[in-house]
């Protein structure tokens, strides 16, 4: 039987790790979707229901482009909110469009019956070797942790780079080299090597720079195209960016219980999806002395909309400005940059005022 050509929706830089599971664990070919462009979004928006959340449209556009690039097997993972129902509708829309592909939907699996996950995986490669998949998955998890650590470092420093684009270039090299890693030892070496390189990049830190925390919805916060490269825009202004939300912190570590406890003053209950983390990090950034907080989400994201009355109170209590961004497929760069500009001016003035 021919080897499956597998695609997985793009999210941040994590596709390197996903590709590792698919190629080394499942012995299949990995088809990366081309980078998201305007065309991706237009395709996605054209075939999606109008007021579904934006990540659905991005992912649908990505699937179509991946199929055109040769993919014959698509994976959807599902999630705690609307994401949990993405897969079945993606599959239906692609089918109605006349694409004949295998669609592996983890929402078909049942957490109470672990074997059902195995059944889903088997659709990708019926002859898979479970041990190999497990090993590859373990390494992929480590890869994600390394990616997250590197990106945390970038966010803290890129705003002060001397040579424009130096961090981005090195980041690309790092992800490129990560592709060839085949065991834990090699991963450790790559990590060390690149951290050393990153630390050597010339930066010119100002005294007491502005610091901004980014919080919000899972996909939009992690996918730089979805948030219109917000982190890069902020960095250009010489701002330190903090963003806790990533895969390591939310999937590999389960902080749910302690987070729930620590936000009791603002929320008696779990408000759904990642709402608790949004609230928790807003409090943390306020306490840490960030100069401002940016809340991002896709238009209509219910759990994140519901955090907004809470965030308004946190803003009041800690006297920290919070700006709210809602992205859809119509959002323009100009509008966003104008608002970021205004926000920047405001927190800058507040800071100068304070320092006097």
């Amino acid at each position: 039987m021919a080897v499956s050509k597998v695609n997985f929706p793009r999210l941040g830089s994590y596709n390197v790790a996903v590709a590792h599971i698919i190629t080394k664990g499942l012995d299949c070919e990995y088809v990366d979707a081309p980078p998201i462009t305007k065309k991706t979004i237009e395709l996605g928006a054209k075939y999606s229901p109008d007021f579904v959340c934006t990540p659905f449209k991005y992912q649908l556009g990505g699937y179509i482009e991946a199929i055109e690039a040769g993919a014959d097997t698509l994976i959807q993972v599902g999630g705690a909110c609307r994401l949990g129902y993405y897969g079945e509708l993606h599959e239906q829309i692609l089918k109605d469009l006349g694409y004949h592909v295998k669609f592996v939907n983890m929402a078909n699996a049942n957490f109470n019956k672990p074997l059902t996950f195995y059944e889903e995986f088997k659709k990708i490669n019926p002859n898979m070797n479970v041990k190999k998949v497990a090993q590859a998955t373990l390494l992929a998890i480590k890869m994600v942790e390394v990616i997250d650590k590197v990106e945390d470092f970038i966010r803290e420093n890129v705003g002060f780079e001397v040579v424009e684009g130096s961090f981005q270039k090195l980041h690309e090299d790092f992800l490129d080299d990560l592709k060839d890693v085949s065991d834990k030892k090699e991963l450790a070496i790559i990590y060390k090597l690149y951290m050393r390189k990153f630390k050597k990049l010339e930066v010119k830190k100002v005294k007491n720079p502005l610091k901004v925390g980014i919080i919000g919805e899972y996909y939009t916060i992690m996918d730089e195209y979805s948030n219109h490269y917000m982190e890069k825009e902020l960095a250009k202004k010489g701002i330190i960016i903090e963003r806790w939300m990533n895969i390591s912190n939310t999937i590999f570590h389960n902080y749910a219980k302690e987070v729930k406890q620590s936000i009791k003053k603002y929320a008696r209950f779990d408000m759904g999806a990642t709402a608790m983390y949004t609230i928790k990090k807003a409090i943390d950034y306020a306490k840490e002395g960030c100069d401002g907080i940016i809340h991002v989400k896709s238009f209509g994201c219910t759990p994140e909309i519901d955090t907004m009355p809470v965030l308004q109170k946190i803003s009041e209590d800690y006297k920290i400005p919070i700006i709210y961004f809602s992205f859809d497929t119509q959002t323009s760069d100009v509008g966003i940059n104008t608002r970021i500009e205004a926000f920047y001016d405001m927190i800058m003035m507040r800071k100068e005022e304070k320092e006097k």
Binding site: P49, D50, F51, V52, C53, F56, G78, C81, R82, G84, Y85, Y86, G87, E88, L89, Q92, I93, D96, N105, A107, N108, N110, F111, N112, Y266, A267, R268, F269, D270, M271, G272, A273, A275, F299, G300, C301, T302, P303, I305, D306, M308, P309, V310, Q312, K313, S326
Partner: protein, 313 residues
């Protein structure tokens, strides 16, 4: 002590249960009036711009009740089953949304929290709430079981009334919508009125044997996670042969409905079907036109079919 029950969201599904429970325990309550312009205006002012229409309306009802009661009644539901029986996160969050929105008013909120996945069943939730109200276990249990019986009876009456409508010789339109949308004076009532004026019988998907409907939903969609949507989708499978057309009604911008209604439109081909999104803007002229043409199409199709069966073609 007086409890204020907002006429929104879960009210439409559970009001018999709630009202009987409070009555049995001898607790005074008021229900906010039917949604009116003032309620909409206040709700829109208090709610986040992007929030869905029924949540803005809910907020308006809360606003109305605040000066008129001692405790606001805002129950919460996170899950109704142990495997993929979740509800829209709005129902998980609404307690804290209201509490934060009106923090300055120091609201006193009466609540219960159902999360079957984490073993918080309805009975447990009501026991806890009853205790908070200062009642003993026997009193609470008695009130709860009487309330459940009343709920069951009310549902049976609704089902029987619907059965009568289904026997009518008029056109029968199945309206698939959350009860808090279709029964709201502002969102769904105008649509029902227009259909009645067009001599149609309105069959509500929300009046259905819920347990059966949840099962039947699988015939249309396998991974559907939201219990309330399962009931509506299952109702389509249950009623499809007894109605002439189907209207999916959603309010702007409902998260679950945005996916589910698209799925139904794509998969259900057996009867004429349209999907409407109501945004609560004033004026029903556009809605009237759409409904009229939909009903016309059904009528023409039906006549053609009858001619065929009568052998006149």
């Amino acid at each position: 002590m007086k409890i204020g029950i907002p006429r929104g969201f879960l009210y439409y599904k559970y009001h018999v249960l709630w009202e009987t429970f409070f009555e049995e325990l001898g607790i005074d309550y008021i229900v906010s009036p039917k949604t009116n312009k003032d309620i909409i205006r206040k709700g829109t002012m208090q709610a986040i711009d992007e929030a869905c229409l029924p949540s803005k309306i809910f907020m308006g009802h809360v606003d109305y009740l605040i000066p008129k009661c001692d405790y606001l009644f805002i129950p919460r539901i996170a899950s109704l089953g142990t495997n993929k029986d979740i509800v829209c996160s709005k129902f998980q969050a609404i307690y804290d949304v209201v509490n934060n929105t009106y923090r300055d008013k120091n609201l006193k909120i009466l609540y219960y929290s159902i999360d079957v996945e984490n073993k918080d069943t309805e009975l447990k939730a009501f026991l806890k709430m009853g205790k908070f109200l200062g009642k003993n276990k026997a009193q609470i249990l008695k009130a709860y079981y009487i309330a459940k019986q009343a709920e069951k009876t009310a549902k049976m009456i609704d089902l029987n009334n619907q059965k009568l409508l289904l026997a009518s010789s008029n056109l029968k339109i199945l309206v698939v919508a959350h009860p808090y949308n279709i029964n709201d004076e502002f969102i769904g009532k105008p649509l029902q009125d227009i259909l009645h004026e067009l001599d149609c019988e309105v069959i509500l998907a929300s009046i259905v044997d819920e347990k059966k409907a949840r099962e039947r939903a699988k015939n249309i969609s396998r991974t559907l996670p939201w219990t309330f949507n399962k009931e509506l989708v299952g109702a389509i499978d249950i009623y499809k042969d007894q109605v002439d057309g189907i209207i999916l009604v959603s309010s702007f911008p409902c998260g679950p409905d945005s996916l589910v209604n698209e799925m139904v439109i794509r998969r259900f081909k057996e009867k004429p079907i349209i999907s409407l999104v109501l945004d609560g803007q004033e004026g029903t002229a556009g809605l009237e036109t759409r409904l009229e043409s939909f009903v016309d199409i059904i009528k023409i199709q039906k006549e053609e079919k009858e001619e065929v069966t009568n052998g006149s073609i």
